[in-house]
Subunit: 112 residues, 2 copies
């Protein structure tokens, strides 16, 4: 059902929509990885990182697997990086746009 898909899209977007979680995915781009490597990479409290990993897990964006005493995470579907990369294009365009706008304003200021 259409509405159901839209709801799910919203859930995945919410799960992605946090700098810390985006950094976790950045780390996992290289391949599966132990939490003990993720924590220093993204920074912050262990419990907080674990919390954010749980959010990504619940959204099925990542999966975890116990290896001895460690827990390894991996991305469920690599296509998530397609989304993140396209997003980067939007962000860059927006940044460019605002800087050219800024430049135009400054030019006007100079004209006075």
């Amino acid at each position: 059902m259409k509405q159901e898909i839209i709801r799910k899209k919203g859930e995945i977007l919410s799960a992605l929509a946090h700098p810390l979680r985006l950094r976790i995915l950045d780390k996992l781009r290289e391949g599966p990885c132990c939490v003990c490597k993720i924590i220093p990479y993204v920074g912050g409290e262990q419990s907080n990182v674990s919390h954010h990993l749980a959010i990504l897990r619940r959204a099925h964006i990542v999966q975890s697997e116990k290896r001895g005493i460690e827990v390894w995470y991996r991305v469920t579907d690599q296509r998530v990086y397609g989304i993140i990369d396209q997003l980067e294009n939007l962000v860059l365009r927006d940044l460019r746009e605002s800087t050219t706008l800024l430049a135009a304003i400054e030019e006007k200021e100079d004209e006075r």
Copy 2:
């Protein structure tokens, strides 16, 4: 700077991460459109839709323009639909995955 881009990515994702806002973008896929058409399409209170439009505007995902008494909205960068469409692939995969998992469980139940 890298961190700044990640922060902005998070902002755009947050702005997208709501069913009502996704439906607004669905409507705008056809082309620029008046708020008076968006409201019945997405459903809900006028003020609520207006709030959500403001969120999309602040994220620069859409732009508005006054035409007489009406306000028309359009998508700033069509590439946002690339993101939404890729998202759909993830969602569909996830739905398929959960239904096959469900089927497998039911099969096991039957075996008993």
